[in-house]
């Protein structure tokens, strides 16, 4: 642990003379900075996607898992009686916390997105809906269906399982996709920084040969390159993170009408998550450059 802390301290403190030993190479410096900035910018979005879909999956899962709907279709004269009978059945069903018939206003509100605000619900032969709220363990859906079949023939129980499962599954997959994207972005960044480091090492073969000639150990040479690339990646990632956060913050805010897409972003403490991206980019750059330098040095006398 002390060694790791010392390594990090050395990395930031640096050695002015050791830094001067390796000449600045404009192309690789710009490539590393640019790659780290772009990749971190994309990583902010992947993180936002992952967190947003995670929230969505949790919300759908929680909200839909606790409620279900009983739909009663019956001729106008029998509708009220069957509703009352269904409510009686539900009151005595274990696992049902509460059940209530939806009012005409609530049913009108449900139909409003399709038929507009002034639909005369009372004149339409629409079924009566009963909202069921489950308690902790839920109820036995198969048993309830059998009872309803016997006592309320026009009732159809919809426990949302049929369409809830694929929705939650889709949201979970999206969350996974976001995480996989983060890993791929990290890998791509490591590959780009490795290429940049290898280009810098190749361009500085003469410098390395001179350093070896005067007795520099591999750790000294490696450190000079690693420090340079790590700091560049940190700087680039910092820029990319800020730009990414600005871009996410100006996305449209979550609205019921907009659905899922407008909810893409960070909420609350989730805004802190992108702060781990620059250090992560630094770690990626550190290991990628170290590996590239060690590989190159192994081939030199």
């Amino acid at each position: 642990m002390k060694t790791a802390i010392a390594a990090v301290t050395d990395l930031f403190k640096g050695d002015a003379q050791a830094d001067r030993v390796v000449p600045p190479t404009g192309f690789t410096a710009r490539l590393t900075l640019f790659a780290a900035a772009v990749m971190t910018f994309l990583a902010v979005f992947a993180l936002a996607l992952s967190l947003a879909t995670g929230r969505l999956a949790d919300r759908w899962s929680d909200a839909l898992a606790r409620t279900s709907t009983l739909r009663i279709s019956a001729p106008a004269g029998q509708l009220e009686g069957q509703t009352a009978a269904a409510l009686r059945v539900l009151e005595t069903t274990e696992g049902v916390a509460s059940a209530r018939a939806m009012t005409p206003e609530e049913q009108r509100a449900l139909l409003e997105p399709w038929f507009g605000p002034d639909v005369p619900v009372e004149n339409l032969p629409i079924p009566q809906l009963i909202e069921i709220v489950e308690d902790g363990d839920g109820y036995d859906a198969a048993g309830l269906r059998l009872r309803l079949q016997a006592e309320v023939p026009g009732a159809v129980l919809d426990d949302h399982t049929r369409w809830r499962r694929p929705l939650v599954q889709a949201a979970s997959r999206l969350r996974l996709l976001g995480l996989v994207s983060l890993v791929l972005i990290g890998t791509a960044m490591a590959a780009m920084i490795t290429l940049a480091a290898q280009a810098a090492l190749a361009a500085n073969q003469q410098v390395i040969a001179v350093l070896r000639l005067v007795g520099a150990q591999d750790t000294y040479i490696t450190r000079a390159f690693v420090r340079r690339f790590t700091l560049r990646a940190l700087t680039g990632a910092g820029i990319g993170m800020v730009l990414g956060l600005v871009a996410v913050s100006i996305l449209p805010s979550a609205q019921d009408e907009g659905g899922f897409l407008t909810g893409l972003g960070f909420r609350g403490v989730h805004w802190l998550w992108p702060l781990i991206l620059p250090p992560a980019a630094g770690v990626v750059a550190f290991w990628a450059t170290r590996a590239a330098a060690q590989r190159t040095l192994r081939d030199l006398p």
């Binding site: 003379q17 001067r20 030993v21 003469q206 001179v210 000639l213 005067v214 007795g215 150990q217 000294y220």
Partner: protein, 225 residues
């Protein structure tokens, strides 16, 4: 100090050096001569483990080079000052920093060493050029700077590969005087050169063994030298 025993070296295709043996004793002075391409530079590289022998045994300060890891080789090179024909500088650094490079990489860049650096630059006549970058120096100045860098760590051995290759006669004499001075201070010196007149001139000032690489083997040069 440096000992080669029945050493051979192959460059991919053919054998460049074969059955070469040499022992560099402390304080000795050697010239190594031979035509271009005879293997003088390869021989020197074997002496500071920049190349590994393909056969035989090479020892640096009592350690077999095959048993040394890269760090051990780097540490050993701090005891061997090398002057290349092309000098090998870091062109982006001023000459004073190039000369001080062995101190920097070994973590010995102290105030006292800075004083020594000034003295050293003065000794090789480069005090006034301390801030110049290597491409701005003449051939002779570069060679003297390379010599200063080679000795700044006070090494036990100095290996010089054609140190007078790119300089005029007067400058080559000046460089030889510096190398002979170092030998008088107790340093072991091995100079590879094809310039026989230089060897003849130096032999009047220092007791030196002259070796020649001929037909892949190392021989003691004859009385003609």
């Amino acid at each position: 100090m440096i000992e080669l025993e029945n050493v051979a070296y192959n460059y991919g295709g053919g054998e460049l050096l074969s059955d070469v043996s040499l022992k560099l004793s402390p304080g000795s002075f050697h010239f190594l001569t031979g035509p271009s391409g005879s293997g003088k530079t390869t021989f020197l590289k074997l002496c500071y483990a920049a190349l590994m022998p393909t056969a035989g045994q090479a020892s640096l300060f009592g350690q077999d080079v095959r048993g040394m890891d890269r760090d051990a080789i780097a540490l050993t090179r701090r005891r061997i000052g090398v002057v290349h024909q092309d000098c090998q500088f870091l062109d982006h650094l001023p000459i004073s920093e190039n000369v001080a490079l062995p101190l920097v990489v070994s973590g010995r860049d102290t105030l006292q060493e800075q004083v020594n650096l000034k003295d050293l630059l003065s000794w090789v006549g480069l005090s006034h050029r301390a801030g110049a970058r290597p491409p701005e120096l003449s051939g002779g100045e570069r060679q003297r700077a390379a010599l200063a860098r080679a000795v700044i760590m006070s090494p036990d051995v100095i290996l010089a590969d054609e140190p007078t290759g790119n300089v005029d006669w007067e400058m080559s004499q000046r460089l030889m005087t510096l190398l002979i001075e170092l030998n008088r201070m107790g340093k072991t010196v091995l100079i590879a050169t094809h310039d026989l007149s230089l060897i003849r001139a130096a032999k009047s000032q220092v007791q030196a063994r002259v070796l020649r690489i001929a037909q892949r083997r190392l021989q003691l040069a004859g009385a003609d030298l």
